[in-house]
Amino acid sequence: MTDTLVDIGLSHDLAVLIAKLVGVFVVATCGLLWTLFGIWLERKVSGRLQDRLGPNRVGPFGLFQTLADTIKILLKEDLVPDGADRWLFNLAPVLSTFSVLLLWVVIPFSAGWIGTDLSIGVLYLLAAGSLGMVATLMAGWGSNNKYALLGAFRAVAQLISYEVPMVLAMLVPVLMTGSMSLQAIVEGQYIAYGLAIPLTVFIFLASSLAEIGRAPFDLLEAESELVAGFHIEYSGMKFGLFYVAEFLHAFTVGVLATVLFLGGWRIPFVSAQDTPALLGFGSLLIKSLLVYLVIMWVRTTLPRVRIDQILEFNWKFLVPLSLANLLVVALLWKIVPDTDQIASVNDALLPTLVLLTANILLIVVTSLILRERGRRERAHIAALYGPVDGAADAAPAGVGD
């Protein structure tokens, strides 16, 4: 496209600018349109998973339900609470959506289909993601509502906490590729990293779930405690924007997991050069949807946890585990020969197997530790309150630790 514009007679700079603007427009619009479909999909799938039908009135299979909801939302009165910090209040939802869309700048949709192939792509992801936190805080503060403020607090505390294991997990593919560019990471996955480091994928997904505030980590909007979290005061399209942002973020996590661990747009057993752009995009979409399905699955099946459990889970389990994981991978990557010049599936085979073995070992060890801890915990509780639901393995009262 840039070339075409240059041919027309525009200067190079201007051509690039126009091309980028068009790209931004297309991506953003597609993203938002995709949301319409995605929300329907989510409702449908969770409906099925929970043994109900899901939307089915508007349009075929309820396909236009989201559209109708959108229209309803757009028509609703736009309320601004008394004493609210107007600017912040209005800016927050925009920024929220904006921060998610910003992520898409560096995501490689297919070979050559990428906004900007930044050399610091992964770092950029983090930087852009932190805008979301700001939006949350702005919303919480601007609403002049203590539940909103508390919700924002919780949200940010959770986001900051879970950023640590997430970053540590993201570092693993960076380490294996030797680059922070997302395109390079995709191209480096002759065998999807996810096969070599399943534990990392788990850590990434778990912490990402918390990052986007999805169940079981949706404490930020726990109705029973905080009414509706930081966006309690929002109505109309502003609320819609938050909603969109949340959904889009969830889907983006799926895309990121795909890019980082599942080979992105690459099709198994086809080399990167031979992948047609469109097919690659399709491949990415399918993989992302699969991941997204998993996220939905988790959401609909697991109960919500308590705030202290969330933070404890992070600091006492995920962070140490991800640190150990990172160290193990780094060590093995150093030990296994020729890891810095992988150029084919065959080259990647040995490191993948080694890492897989190591990961399985790590998982086993972790499980053992967890089992031991669980037993102690139960014994402790049993010692305090009597046997837990008649569990046979609970130690008799008074014996515990």
């Binding site: 932190s130 508390l150 900051i160």
Partner: protein, 198 residues
């Protein structure tokens, strides 16, 4: 200097940086000040990009906006001023303003081409340089390697890590209240809408 896209971008980022900074200093509402701080720091990150230091720009955003400013906002919210403080600034502000202005004039005086007119031989820097050499392509790799190279910056790097560690532990110790039960953690924030000013 001709007006290029780069120059315009530079001016925009500079304006963001300085304007945000001014607001940080002048705004009555502390929360707003913190947000303006983010803006200002974002402008700095932009300048880093212009200076072909993308890594630093990213780190700037992650560390400053993502961590430090958020932390500051937390602190702002944890320390509500019960009584509204009417005065934002210290009474010594005229003096401070004069000093800051003087310092600015002095710095501009010495760091612009004016310095050359002063006949300053003590400076080795050429302030008018417009076409510096290109940054090597792998400067990011070089940055990473130099940080862990025992012959370059490994020692300072380790020291910095140690510093962070110490700061972390120190901060935890400082704000740790051993007599508190963990359930009361969120208590300070649960007050009425904090009045932020000053």
């Amino acid at each position: 200097m001709e007006i290029t896209v780069e120059a315009i971008v530079f001016l925009v980022f500079s304006a963001i940086t300085l304007g945000g900074a001014l607001q940080v200093v002048l705004t009555r509402n502390l929360f707003h000040a913190a947000l303006y701080l983010m803006l200002s720091l974002f402008g700095v990150a932009g300048l880093f990009v212009l200076l072909t230091a993308p890594f630093l720009a990213g780190a700037q955003v992650v560390i400053y906006i993502g961590a430090i400013t958020i932390l500051i906002i937390f602190a702002i919210m944890l320390t509500p001023q019960v009584t509204r403080v009417l005065k934002v600034h210290h009474t010594q502000w005229p003096v401070a303003l004069a000093l800051a202005a003087l310092l600015f004039v002095g710095l501009v005086w010495t760091q612009t081409p004016l310095a050359d007119e002063l006949g300053a031989d003590g400076w080795s820097a050429d302030f008018t340089v417009e076409d510096p050499a290109d940054v090597p392509a792998d400067s990011l790799t070089d940055l990473g390697k130099s940080l862990v190279d025992p012959e370059r910056y490994m020692l300072p790097f380790e020291a910095a890590s140690l510093l962070l560690m110490a700061a972390l532990i120190g901060a935890v110790l400082l704000v740790n209240r051993p007599d508190d039960n963990p359930d009361a953690e969120a208590a300070p924030a649960a007050g009425a809408r904090p009045d932020q000013s000053g």
